[in-house]
Each structure stands twice: as structure tokens, then as C-alpha cells.
Amino acid sequence: MSWILILEQSLNGLQFGLMLFLLAAGLTLVFGIMDMINLAHGSLYMVGAFLASTFVQLTGSFVAGVLLAIPATALLGMLLEISVLRTLYARDHLSQVLATFALILIINELVRLVWGSDAALPLPAALSGPVELLPGLRYPVYRLVIIAVGLAVAVLLYFLVTRTRMGMLVRAGASNREMALAMGVDIKTLFTAVFGIGAALCALAGSMLAPLFAVQVGMGENILILAFVVIVIGGIGSIRGALVGAVLVGVVDTIGRAFLPILLGAFFQPRVASAAGPALASVMIYLIMAIVLYFRPQGLFPARG
């Protein structure tokens, strides 16, 4: 277990965490401002990845494909908001969970009808090689690109939320919706716009992660649960909380998977360690969430004062 391995796994964790952040940012805004549980957020991530795979094949360029998939998914997201989700804002959480669960089933089958069960989105050749970061540390270029994109989006979002008029409205909505309404904020349009941005971030995450994971039906569900864990840890409605939570979950999950079996091996028999290690690693993030909720029931960075 050398420090290079630790560094490499930390970078992997950061990379995964930043992609989680893209999903969690949209989710936490929808959740925080509209008080709406949207389980179908993961479906937009899936649709984004499938669209990107089609556009990449059509244009022959990875970048062009991803750039086309983002507005297309945003458009679909806004359509979804206007047609179905809008009617759910006034309903209780149970109805929201069930209606969006139904949307997951519907969207999964629609994707299966249009694309089949999976699609290919190969790594662009120019980005496939490794690069030597430090003597002895060779790291895949593509993962570095993901980290760069993730950080750039985080900065952009921070700017959008803290420095623009729309960001101000979003923050107002997240901290006190009724008050924002009373002050004459056009909540309807704002909601649709926020939903579109959330969908665009989903598409970005989906198409960036696609070459690393598989593009398949159901890919949205597992990562959706992780995104929920992130926003609950970070505090619902808080972008900053989403960033901290996402990186925390990404790093803990990745490092745990890599090193827990080794660590346990130092104390227990190898048979026990190889069985318990992966289990403990998968459980760890949920454990963190339970602990955070136990001591800080509003998350680490509560958006409502």
C-alpha cells in the first residue's frame, strides 16, 4: 500500500464525487426550492447518456455529441416538469415518491423501446491514454478531464447562484418559498428553468461517466440513491452542502472499496477480510449518512436558516 496508490484512489474518489455533485446539485435545488422528491432525476441521467451515445455516433465527435445531448436533455426535463411534475408540487411527499417512481418505470421502458437495453459510448481516442502526473504516478487523461469539467461546473454554479439575479431568486426560494412568492417572484418559470438546469447537469454527468461505466437501462437508479445520500448529508437545498457531501461520499466510497479489505486483512483472517471488506465499504456511506442525520438532522449545511 504505497502513497502513490492512495493518491491515485483519492483522485478517483474526487472524480466520482464531482460527477455525483452534478447530479446532486440539480436534485438539491429541486428538492430545496420546490420541496419535491424527484426519483426520476436518475432517469434524466440515463436519458442524457443514451442521447449522448446517439449524438456521438451521428456527429463522430465526442465533444459535439455531449454538447448536443445537454440541451436536448434539458428540453426533455422541462417538458417533463411542465407536463407531470408541476401538478405534484402541491401534493404530499408520498404522492411525489410514487408518481416519480412510476416515471422511472415508464422512462426505463421508453428508453428500452427506443435504444434497446444498452448503448455504446466509447472513450474518445485522444483522451484514452495515461499521463504522468508525478514520477511514478501515471493517471488516465480522461479522468483528469472529468475532474476539470466537474470543478469548472462547480465554479460556474457557485457564480450563478451567488452572483446573478436568477441565483438570488433561487436562494430566496430555497430559504423561504412563501416569502419569495409574496415578493412577486415568478415561481412557475423559475421552477421550469431550475429543472432544465438540473436536467442539463444530469446529461453532463451521464455522458461524461458513460465511457467509464456502461450505458444501460437502470443505470440511473443506483446513482440516484447515492445522490440522495449526498444531498441529505449536505443539507437539502444547499449547493455548497451538495459539493462537500458529493466529494465526501465519492472519496469515502472509492477509498473504502480499495483499502478496507487490505486494512481488515491486517486484523482478521484473509477469508473474513475478503468477505467483510466490500460489504463494509458499500455500507460505509449509508453509515455516514445515518450518523450525520442522528447528530445534525438538517444535514451539514442547512439551507433554511
Binding site: H93, L98, F101, L113, F228, V232, P297
Partner: protein, 321 residues
Amino acid sequence: MKRTILAVIILLAFPLAMQALGYLFYVSFASRVMIYAIAATSLNLVLGYGGMLSFGHAAFVGAGAYVASILVAEGVASAWIGWPAAVVASALLAWIIGAISLRTRGVYFIMITLAFAQMMFYLVNSMKAYGGDEGLTLPRRAELGFGLDLGNELVFYYVVLFLLLLALYVLHRVVHSRFGRVMIAIRENAPRVEAIGLPVYRYQLVCFVIAGAAGGLAGALLASHGKYVNPNVLHWVQSGTLMIMVILGGVGHLWGGVIGAAVLLGLEHLIADHPVAWLSQWAPNYQQHANLGVGIVLLVIVLFAPQGIAGLLARRQRARP
């Protein structure tokens, strides 16, 4: 009351009729429906009467299923040991999860119950000694003694039916007891109940544990029925499916869980195993996309009939002079 007696008579006569007609498969299928009905009914207690949005009920069903299966796999085949053990294990689990989760409110409660269920899912996934992610196949169903062979579909059916009716009776009594009244009051307005001086947290926890125990029983039956258990019984989609059954049937209606389980599983079976000629012509592969239909039905129910099927029936009955 008249309707309840009618329903019980139909349920009692059903397997005999099916046996006479030679459709023994449907006896087994009905057993499965009733097992899910027990699970959905237990969730209905938490969801419909307790007003607690638990998104991790599959954890209790799964824990019961695994405890019962592991006992059978280790040679303890008696249902008199295996099933109570499953119930106790699930009740204990519900007590631990509930004690922590009930400190949170609203959305956070949904998420923390989901998180605990996910933990259980991954724990079971890693139990290599008991099949890991491939699941555990049992040599036979649990043994009941008294010359009753649970391997016989008819015997199994009547045992499950007895337990379902017992569960419904217990639910009925619980809901109409002082305890049930308090639970409904907590659902409607928890701060007010707290202000009256009743320990809200303790009431909710007891309700959660009762539901968890019943979920464990359903799990034990499920494992025995299929002679197989795998980690997917704990998957969060399973929790969602149980929720669908409750909503479909009717939240807070005694028969809600039963109706929901019957309608959902029946719909699945119809679409998957009974091709409709004109639909096949129009859409040749529609059977592979059964979930599309389930999703649309669920969406329509949630949007336009929030009280579920039992609610629709009750409304029609009330509308009659």
C-alpha cells in the same frame, strides 16, 4: 361486514375450485399474492395509519426471508422455530432502525429508512456463506408437523390464508384500539398529540416494530413459498413495489394492501403470460415492456385517484342512497 364474509368465503373456496378445474398453478400464485398482501398490509399500518413514510420496508421482509432460509439451510426445518425467529429478528431490526430514524422528520425520515434498507441489502449481498448475490436455494419448504405437508400447494395456501386473515384481524383490532386512535391522531397532528401529553415517539416506534414483525413473517413465507431467496427481496425497488401495492389498493384502508397486491401481481401475470391477440398484432413485443403499463397505471392512480381502489369502492358505496 357482509363484504368481508363474502371475501373470506371466496378465498376459502378458491383453491378447491381451482383444483377441480385442474389449475393448480393458480393456487400457488394466489399464495404468493397473499404473502405480498401480508407485507403490503404491514406497510399500510406504518404508511396509512401511522403516517410514517418508510421507504425501507423491504429490509424487514428481507430479514425475515433470510433468517427463515438460513435456519432451513442449517437444518432447522421446523416452521414453528423458523417463522417466529424471522418475526422476532425483523421486529428487533425494526426496533433498531425505528429508534434512530424516528428522530428525523419528513423527507429525512424517508431517506434514512432507505439508507438502512440499502445497508441491509449490501450486507446480505456479501454473505458469501449463504449465497451472496446469487441467493440461497432451499431443499424444501419449512415443516409444520401434525401431518401437514407445506410442500402441498393446497396446505400451503390455507396456512398462508390463515396468517393473512390473522394479520388483517390484528390490524383491524390495532386500528380500532386506543393505540390505533392515538396513531391516527399522530398522523393528523403530531404536535397536538405531544401537547396532550402522549409520548409520540414511543407510539410511533411500537407501530413501526409491529409492522416490521409482520413484514418478517411475510418474508419467511415468501422464502418458503419459492424455496429460494436472493438479495433482491431487500432491493429498494422492492420497497417501492410494496408502496405501490398500498397506494394502488388504498392507503389506510383495511383491505388496501390485499387489493393492491392482488391487482399489481395479477396485472403483471396477465401481461407476461397471457398474450392478447390484437395487442400483439399492434405491438409485437409488448409483453417485454409490462412495466410501461404498470408505470402508467400507477401514475394515473396517484394523479387522479389518491385514495386507491378501496377508496374508489368506498366512495361509490357512500354515493348510493
